[in-house]
Amino acid sequence: MTKQSPLRITYKALAVALLLYALIYGLLAEIPVSPQMGSQLGQSARNLLYHVPNWFAMLVMMGISLYHSIRVLRLTDPDREQTENPLRADIKANESARVGVMFNILGLLTGIIWARVSWNVAKEATSFSAWWGWDPIQTCALIALLIYLAYYLLRNSIEDPEQKAKVSAVYNIFAFMTLIPLFFVIPRILDGLHPTADGGAVLFKKEGMNNLLRTILYPGMIGFILMGVWIYEIRSRATTLRFRWQEWQSNQEYDNSHQS
């Protein structure tokens, strides 16, 4: 059995340690429920520690996906020397986008629950608006999910693997360009309930956000990102292995047919 490189073991151990710290300390620490924090937020402010990191992890995973998509295009360029099979880069782009989608869904779910207990307390639990308020950032997150679901639809509708790799890489790069206004610009135009740099709720502005929460949030965020990288590593290794096995099998068949 091959030994893992020390770097790999270190980041995995770090992911586990940081997540354990964020889980245990985040749930047990005394957080001040001051009027500055917004009276309706109360103890549910802890959800900040488990809601916000999802989005940063998603952006990192989408960034990795973007990087591998660019590599697919460079590897299929006939003017350049082909150092690696572009289909392997495509596997990585695909799997990291998948983990990004997972974080997107987790972020939406934690957001829905949080919105229920902080923004929409007064509403009946059976009404739709008690769970989903069409807040601008919430809507943008949903649109980001739709963009990447469309990416998978596109992948499913192309048969030829090489063509699939190339076309979906082009779409992925184009989609990432629209992710930037979705998360950084539109929330500033449309006033909403989320705290933003200039407007919206004032829950987590400099004076409102508690230092304690900060000391848990940032390490936890790194933990989320590293855990995402780990999941992505496992998924892409498994798919690459399947790809290699298929290649090996077809080589065997080729050899057999030429020997006989």
Binding site: T76, D77, I147, A150, L154, S157, Y171, F174, V185
Partner: protein
Amino acid sequence: MWQELRVLLRKEIMLEWKQKYAFNGLLLYVLSMSIVIALVFRDELNPSNWNLLLWLMLLFAAINAVAKSFLSEKPEQLRYLYTLARPAAIILAKFIYNAGLLALVALLSLGVFAFLGEQHFHDPLAYVGLVLLGSLSLAANLTLVTAISAKAQNQSTLLAVLSFPLIVPLLLMLVRLSDTALTGTGANQGEGFLGFLLVLTVILVGVSVILFPFLWRE
């Protein structure tokens, strides 16, 4: 480069001129939509909703107009085209043609819509400018997406699915800005976002020009 662009643009316009049904179909669509909306809402439509309906109509007109830029041409035709011109020139020509067509359709539908809805504009010049900018950025977004969906099966469904989520952010910004131009209320940092919209359009066109050569090569 300019030579190639001019020739390609001429080809697009002549094709359109020879088979006018696409453009006429768009005009008919815009007209019938405006009449239906005017009929249904009569005087009950407030300016913000009027603005929203106009943009929705423009969105569907845009998807219909741009859809035929790559989807209507046969693969052999496209392959022949690729031997004649550089890919960057092809996508730029398609973009310029689409933007022009969309701007024309958008202005016409704005005229019909405003006439039937009897709108009062707070800042008519800014509104027209926004409609033009909107058709520019819609064309920038849609041109590459049509080229992508032309590579796959069940193209026309895929075009709608791929383009819709990419366009929503643009549309959100456009609706909000043009609402300000129409009613004169809620103007916050309008210029900054206008600039951002312009920059985004330029970036999208640039990215399309860079990415398209990878797309057509087989």
